[in-house]
Structure formats: C-alpha cells, structure tokens
C-alpha cells in the first residue's frame, strides 16, 4: 500500500470507474465525470491518472484492438482492482471520521 492517500482527482476517477461497473475506458469516464462535476474534464488528465494508478496496482488495464470492437476503435479498459477498492473504502472511512458531527452543522449554515 502506498503511503500517500488518494488525490481528489484520483478519488473521483476511481469512483467513476466503480460507478461504470468496475471497468471503463476514458470516453464514458470523461462524460460521466463532467456530468457529476459540472465542469470540463480533460481526457488527458483522466488517461494519465489511470495509467499512474495502474502503476500503483490500484487498477489494471486491457487493450481492445479496433478489429475486435464494433466501434472499430482502439480502447484501453481500466478495471478496478481489489487494492483500489480497498483504498476507496479506506478513504471513505477516513473522510467519514473527519466529517463526524460537523455534517449537520455545515448543512445548516
């Protein structure tokens, strides 16, 4: 396990992969994240972050060659690995501990 926690963007990317069924490539991810964040999301950022998360062992990837797809395009699918899932859970737990007791107060103000 890496010593550093997930960055906000990394967190968002991993969650989006999860939301798209645990395996996704950049196109639906960008669209999904733009919809959720309401901002433009750079495909370059998504792709690069995924490749880096792959280096850390949080996701794995497989290539889909043009011949194999109905879209006739090359795609790289990233799949959430158990380690990635574990990291998401851990992040959530940590955040929850931080939020404990102040959620309501923040909501009211």
């Amino acid at each position: 396990m890496s010593k550093t926690g997930l960055g906000e963007f990394e967190h968002q990317v991993l969650l989006s992969v999860l939301r798209l069924g645990g395996e996704a490539y950049s196109v639906p991810l960008v669209l999904e994240m733009e919809e959720r964040s309401g901002r433009e999301v750079a495909q370059a950022a998504v792709y690069i972050v995924l490749r880096r998360l792959e280096e850390k062992g949080l996701v794995s990837s497989r290539m889909e060659e043009p011949e194999e797809t109905e879209s006739r395009r090359a795609r790289r699918y990233f799949k959430l690995e158990p380690a990635g899932l574990e990291r998401l859970k851990e992040s959530r737990r940590t955040m929850a501990r931080f939020w404990e007791g102040i959620e309501a107060a923040l909501e009211e103000s």
Binding site: A42, I48, M63
Partner: protein, 893 residues
C-alpha cells in the same frame, strides 16, 4: 458517424511530444478515444466547438504530463515510456544529442570555443613557463640540496673571489662538495670559422656536483685544475657534431681531437649532453678553471655552488659559511675592508628564478582576468540561448527528464564547449611556447625548458573544467528553473522568466566590465611608462650609429703592445672608409651592456673603516668613443694622447650622475681616488665630466659612471662607428678593413644605435602589447555583452516602447531611457573595476617608469574609454528603440 478524416489534424509538436513520452500503443489509444469523444462532442456541442475542444484536449497532453510530473516530483512522474528515465545521464546518445544542439548554433559555438580557447591557451602557456621555472624541480639529482653560495653585502649579492673559493673548499664541512665556474667569451678558430663562443671554465668537481656525467670520455681531473696542468676541454655533443663532424650520438669520435681556443690548442677529453641544464647557459665548451694563487681579495667573479651534505640542515651550513668568511677576513684586510659583507647561500632553484616571477605572475593575472571575462561572456551567451530554448527544455522535462538529468544535459553541452576550448587552448599555448624563445629570451631565462608537461596539461584541464562548470552551471540552473508547464505554452517568453534571465545577464555584463577595467588600467600604465621610456634621452646620438664587438684572441694578443698595435691599425683604416665620420672603442655598450663595475675610495671623502666602498660602472674608452656617440663634455677636458699612454699619471672622466652623486653642487674635476680596493699607489684624478649614458637599461637611475682611458687593455671591446648615412651599408666595408688587419678576428653583436635602444625596451614593449591586447579583447567582449542585453531588452519591450511613443513620448526620451539603463551597468562595472585596478596595479610599480601605479590620468582615461564605448554600445539599440513605429509594434502585440 464521423470518420477519422473529420477530426482536426494533430499539431506536429504535440505529436512529437507524444512520440517521445508515450508508448506507441498509448498514443494509438489516446488518439482513438479522443476521436470517439469528438464524435460525442459534435452531437452535444456542435462541430465548431467540438473541433475546438478536441484541439484543446490534444494540447493538454504535453502540458498535463509535465504539470503532473512537476507537481508530484519525480517520484510520481509519469513513465508511460520506460526507457526515458532509466538512461544514464551521460551516454553516447546524450553526447551526440548535445553535439547536435551545439551544431545548430555554429557561430555561437565557434565564438565560445575561440574566446574560451584563447583564454585557456594564454593561461596554459604562462603556466607552462611558471611550471618550468618555478615549480618543476631542477633537472639534477637531489636538486633541493644544491645551493648558490654568494657574497652577501646588503643590498648587493655578488659572486665569490678566488680567495673566497679556495678558503671555502679547504675549510667547509657542511657540504658534500663545492664547485665553481666562470663564464667567459672566447674566440674559437677552425679552418673556416672565427667565432666568439660562450665558454664556461669549471672547477673539476662541477659536473659531479650537479650529477651530470659525460656521454663519452671523462671530465677533467683535479690535476688539470692545477696551475700548469694540461689544457683540456669538454664539449657538448651538439658542438662536436657541428664543428668536429662527429656522427655518433655520444660524440666519441671527438675524443682526443684538438680545437683552437684563443689561439691555443686544447684537447677534447669528454663529450657532454646537449644541454647541461639551467646553469649551463648557452655554453657548449667547458674548459678547466685554473685558479692562480691570488695576491688580493678581489675580484669577485666565481659562481660557486655547493651540495649540502645529507643530514646537515641549512642553518648549520649557512652558519659555517659566515664563520669561514669571518676567519679569512683579517688575512685580506689590506685589500678588502667591508667587514659587514659576509657569505650567504640561496637554493639553486630560487637563484635561477631571478626576478622573473613577478613578471610571470603579472602575465598570469592578466590572462586569468581575460579568461574570466571570456567565461562570463560565454555564460551570458548560453543564458540567452537557454532563454530561447525554454520550450525545448520543457519538452525534455516532459520526457520525464529529472532536474538532475536536465542539468547534466546542459552541462554536457558546456563540457563540449569547454573541451573544444581546451583543444584550441592547447594549440594556442603550444604556439605561444614555440614563439617565446624568439621574442622573450632576453628577459625570461631557461625558455628552452618550457613544455606542455603533465602538470601543465592538468592545469589546462582544470581551467577548462572550472570555466566550463562556471558558464555551464549558470545557464543550466537558469534553464531548469521556473514553471515548465507555462513554458510549454508560451515558449518561455513570459515576463518573469525574462526578468530573471535579464538580471543574471546584467550581472554577468557588469562583472565583465569590472574585470576589464584592471586590464585596461594595467595596459594604460605600461603604455604610458613605455612612452616615457621612449622619450628618455639616451644621452647619446643613436642615429647613424653602428656598433659591434671586436674580439682579439687572448693567445695571439696576450701582449699589450700587440693589442695596441691592432687597435691603432684598425682605427686608422676605418677612419679612411668613405661614409665613416668617426670611430671609437669602449669596453661597454649603452644602453644596457655593462662589462665591469669597480669600487673606489675618494681622497676627500674616505669610506669609514668597516664600510663598503662605493661601486660604480667602470668603462674603458678611447678618445673617439665620446665623439662617436655624441656624448658631450660638460666640464674639464677630454682624454688626450698622453692619457692613453700607460706611463702617464692615471686620469679618468666621470659622468654627470657621478659628479651629482659624490660632489653635489661642487666641482668634480680635480678630485682624486684610489680604485679597486688599493690603499697605496698613485691617485687617479678626475679630469672631466661628460654627459650621462645608461649602461643598465634606458630609464634606470644612473649610479655614476667612471671612464678610464684605453684601449690597450681591451681584448673584446665594442667598436662604435658614426656613419654619414645609413650605418648598415657600411658593414661590409668595415668587415673588409678589419679582415685586412687580422682575418681571424670575429665581429659579433652587430647593431645600430636604434636597434640597441629598441631591444633594451623589448620587455616593456612586449608586456605592454600583451596587456593591451588582453585588455582590448576583454573590453570588446564586455561591450558586446552590454550591446547584446540592451538590444534584447529593446526587442522585448517593443510593446511598452510603442505605448510610450503613442502616448506622446519623444523618441529622444526613449533613447535616453535605454542608454540610461545600460549606463547604470557600465558605471557599476567601472566603479568596482577601478577599485580592483587600484588594488591590483601596485604589482606593476616596479615595471613602471615615471608613472604612479594609481596614475589618475590613466584611470580617467580608462573611465572615459569605458563610458564612451558603453554609450556607443547602448545608443545603437537605443536609437532603434526610438525609431519604433507605434502602430506596427502594437499590432504585433
């Protein structure tokens, strides 16, 4: 569905970045997925916005890669392509890459290699001289135990006498051995040659003392050193092959042959190596010194050397020298009264070094400053280059290059430049070393020993490394700093970057100007000193004057009467040669060839007991000498016919300096003295005072010269001929006339009055020229630097200048503003430089003639020159700024 043809093209630089940052598979995926997004965007955003978004996404790739890698430091850098980060910092590939980068800027690279090369070359050549003369041990075994033993009568150090040497040899216990030599000039005659050659007369143990053994044959035995011993001689292998026709390297065929020296046959018993080290001088023939039993303490002419016994310390040896001197002092008190004089010793290496170290360190300092300026100039050029290459460097960083790798890449370029510089430098220094014996042998000794030794090469490498690191690090550290992501977008043309670069460059230019000022000051001081020297009245008429040495062999002309006859005949014949106005003989030749000095005791002002008598230049001259050189009689009378005869009461002429020194404000004529330490015998009378002529260099304070009538004493005087026209044309006629009197008499050291004066100023002239060249090159580099940054700043601020002009600013004000900024730098450099010059120029003081090292006129001149060239250098870009057309400049923005 949109096909691949409908997406906008991928920009070349993005494609290049991608190709170098990412694996081909990733590029394919990324472009393909972006195309897919483009299809979605066409639907949601419309075609134009979709295209724009697509392009934006493409551009983000390099920028994202970079921003991420910097933001998370290299630990998290994106390694889409594995090999980039693993490569070693320096490999053939990176070397080739750096070389290519340099080749893209050939003029810049050549300029750097040349300027740095010349700086390194000069430093290396001078260091080679320092190495040979000051650092390298003498080429003798255990040279550190060799000492020169001398008479020590502060402030003078002079050789020992025969009395001294014999006492030393007999009584000393601190030295393994002592030996002595006397350098002489003798006439060597062979069937076709009559030549004056340097001959060194040595005591038998000298070669053993220095650890030099003959190539063949033997050295002289101690019997040969006794009076009446067999006349034998040793020659160098070079002499043997030139004059005795030997073919073998050891010259063994020469053994047993005879040569004629001063008319006497001597047998060759040994052949010595070509060059017998630094004490050998240019002598090629070595006779054995025979010391006759002395009748008085002087004269002092023996160069004496000792090898301190192992285990004996210097203090003991020196104390013993003083003790022996004290012991023999009473025995010779009748002929030598200076009881303060003692014996001292000096390491041979130091004795040979002479006064040249100061000159060498001045040269080293000067060329070092030049190298410094060249280095800073290079740093400046590279900074400007790095500035314009920020996008390229950013791309390299995007490849995953770590800051360390970037620095090493930039340093590699600098290393290549420095390497080129060192090659040019070594070639230049070899050239200088080859040239030195030709131009500088008259004032720097032992130049034939100078070579590019290992130490010298190491020094050159050190200089290259130092200067390469200096300009390399300055540019490299500038190259890697800052926001690289921003650089990728803007190409490095952001305000903050330029500002930082500009600040460095301004500092470098100011530093260059600072370093140039001491050089200019030194050159200026030496130049005014040289002008002063050239203005000095030498005291004689150098025009249409021809002089040469005429040497009689001591064997043939051992009798005074024979010599007198020869001189009489020769002078008579010469005076009839058409074009000859007058002729005269003298034992010494102005301005700097003094044969002997002598001491004397004045009748009116006797030297108190226990003190040393005054010593002055002593010249034997005939009547014609004064007329021929145009030396005026100031009071009293000249020599007459009676004075020349040996039986007449002794008289002398003295020069003005003598009269001033010993009888200030009084008449010198009629005064009497006894010379040479004599305490009895007839008094010598001063009969006249003549004008002053220098014998130890133009511009040197005269010590007061005594002229003794001659020339019957003389065996090798200088002949002076006053010609009606061009003196050089007379030479064949004079040679012919002298040949008629005696064809074996050699004529040497032929020169006109003008060449004599000019060669006596050679050191001063050469040093001035060298410093002036260094100074002007340094100034040129500094001013080009100033011009460069001013022009750059004008270019960069075109917009701002246009706004000023558009708002009604006058072109004059713009020009003034630009020039004002540059002058700030120039003045800062000047002020610091003047402070440095004042601190440094003191080392020149011993070389200056009638110029103070802090001569305000020179400093003012340097200031005016620097300000003037700086004005020109900044006014050129300034006037371009003033002519900026506001509308077009603003449109470009």
């Amino acid at each position: 569905m949109a096909g691949p043809g409908e997406v906008p093209p991928v920009p070349g630089w993005v494609r290049r970045v991608m190709r170098r940052t990412m694996a081909p598979e990733d590029i394919r995926v990324v472009l393909s997925e972006l195309e897919e997004l483009h299809v979605r965007w066409r639907i949601t955003l419309g075609p134009r916005r979709a295209d724009r978004r697509y392009r934006r996404e493409l551009r983000r790739y390099p920028v994202r890669l970079l921003a991420r890698s910097l933001g998370h430091r290299s630990r998290h850098s994106i390694r889409l392509r594995d090999r980039t980060s693993r490569a070693t910092p320096v490999s053939i590939g990176t070397l080739a890459q750096s070389a290519r980068a340099l080749a893209r800027a050939p003029v810049l690279s050549a300029a750097i290699v040349l300027t740095v090369g010349v700086g390194i070359g000069g430093c290396t050549a001078i260091f080679a001289v320092i190495d040979a003369l000051l650092l390298r041990p003498l080429p003798f075994p255990d040279a550190d135990r060799l000492v020169w033993i001398h008479t020590d009568a502060p402030p003078n150090r002079f050789p020992l006498s025969v009395v001294d040497y014999q006492a030393l040899e007999a009584q000393q216990t601190s030295f393994e051995a002592v030996a002595a030599f006397d350098r002489q000039v003798r006439t060597f005659t062979a069937p076709e040659v009559a030549e004056r050659i340097s001959v060194t007369a040595v005591t038998p143990g000298l070669f053993e003392l220095f650890g030099v053994s003959p190539l063949s044959g033997r050295t002289a035995s101690s019997e040969e050193g006794m009076p009446g011993g067999e006349a034998t001689v040793m020659v160098t292998a070079g002499f043997a092959s030139r004059f005795l026709g030997t073919g073998r390297a050891d010259g063994a065929e020469a053994l047993g042959r005879t040569i004629i020296l001063d008319g006497t046959q001597v047998t060759v018993i040994g052949v010595l190596p070509q060059n017998f080290g630094p004490v050998g001088g240019d002598a090629e023939v070595f006779t054995t010194l025979r010391l006759e039993p002395p009748t008085r303490k002087g004269p002092f002419f023996l160069a004496v050397f000792g090898r301190i016994a192992p285990g004996t310390d210097r203090a003991t040896a020196a104390a013993e020298l003083r003790a022996i001197n004290r012991r023999i002092f009473p025995l010779w008190a009748a002929s030598y009264q200076d009881e303060r004089a003692t014996w001292g010793m000096m390491d041979l290496a130091e004795a040979l070094r002479g006064s040249v170290s100061r000159l060498l360190f001045i040269l080293m300092g000067a060329v070092g400053l030049l190298l410094l300026v060249a280095t800073m100039n290079t740093a400046n050029l590279l900074l400007a280059r790095v500035g314009s290459r920020r996008r390229e460097l950013a791309v390299r960083t995007a490849l995953g290059a770590s800051p360390r790798r970037m620095v090493s890449h930039l340093l590699l370029e600098s290393a290549l430049l420095a390497g080129g510089g060192v090659l040019v430098g070594l070639a230049a220094s070899q050239g200088i070393i080859d040239l030195l014996p030709v131009v500088a042998s008259s004032y720097i000794p032992r130049l034939d020993e100078v070579r590019l030794s290992g130490t010298v090469l190491g020094f050159a490498a050190f200089l290259a490394l130092g200067s390469g690191l200096m300009f390399g690090l300055i540019s490299a550290l500038h190259g890697i700093g800052g926001d690289v992501a921003q650089d990728l977008r803007t190409g490095g043309r952001t305000a903050t970057q330029s500002l930082r670069q500009q600040r460095y460059q301004r500092l470098l230019v100011a530093a260059q100007l600072t370093a140039a000022v001491p050089l200019l000051t030194g050159a200026g001081l030496l130049a005014s000193s040289l002008v002063n020297l050239q203005r000095v009245d030498p005291g004689f008429d150098a025009q249409n004057l021809l002089t040469m040495r005429v040497s009689l062999s001591r064997g043939t002309y051992s009798d005074v009467e024979d010599r007198r006859q020869f001189w009489d005949q020769m002078l008579e014949r010469l005076s009839t040669v058409p074009g000859v106005v007058s002729v005269g003989l003298a034992s010494s030749r102005p301005p700097e060839e003094l044969a002997i000095t002598n001491n004397f005791d004045l009748e009116d002002r006797p030297t108190p007991p226990g003190q040393s008598q005054p010593v002055v230049p002593w010249v034997v001259a005939d009547q014609g000498f004064f007329q021929t050189l145009g030396i005026p009689l100031l009071s009293g009378r000249m020599f007459d016919e009676v004075d020349i005869t040996d039986s007449s009461p002794p008289v002398v002429l003295v020069d003005e300096a003598w009269a001033r020194r010993f009888f200030p404000g009084e008449a010198a004529v009629g005064r009497r003295f006894r010379s040479g330490g004599a305490t009895s015998g007839p008094w010598t009378t001063v009969v006249g005072v003549v004008g002053e002529v220098p014998y130890s260099g133009v511009g040197r304070e005269g010590e007061g010269t005594v002229y003794q009538p001659g020339p019957s004493y003389l065996t090798d005087p200088f002949l002076n001929v006053r010609a009606a026209g061009d003196p050089a044309r007379l030479m064949p006629l004079i040679r012919e006339e002298i040949r008629r009197v005696d064809p074996t008499v050699p004529l040497t050291r032929i020169g006109t009055g003008e060449t004599l004066i000019s060669s006596s100023l050679a050191q001063s002239r050469h040093l001035t020229l060298v410093l002036l060249t260094f100074a002007l090159v340094a100034l040129l580099l500094a001013v080009i630097g100033l011009y460069g940054i001013t022009a750059n700043s004008v270019q960069r601020r075109r917009g701002e200048i246009a706004v000023r002009l558009a708002l009604g600013g006058s072109p004059g004000a713009v020009l003034g503003h630009v020039v004002w900024q540059a002058m700030g730098l120039a003045v800062a450099g000047l002020v610091l430089g003047i402070a440095a010059a004042i601190a440094l120029s003191r080392v020149l003081s011993s070389l200056l003639y009638e110029v103070s090292p802090n001569d305000p006129r020179t400093l003012a001149g340097v200031a005016v020159l620097l300000i003037f060239v700086s004005l020109v250098a900044s006014a050129l870009p300034g006037s371009r700024a003033a002519r900026v057309d506001p509308t077009s400049a603003l449109r470009e923005e």
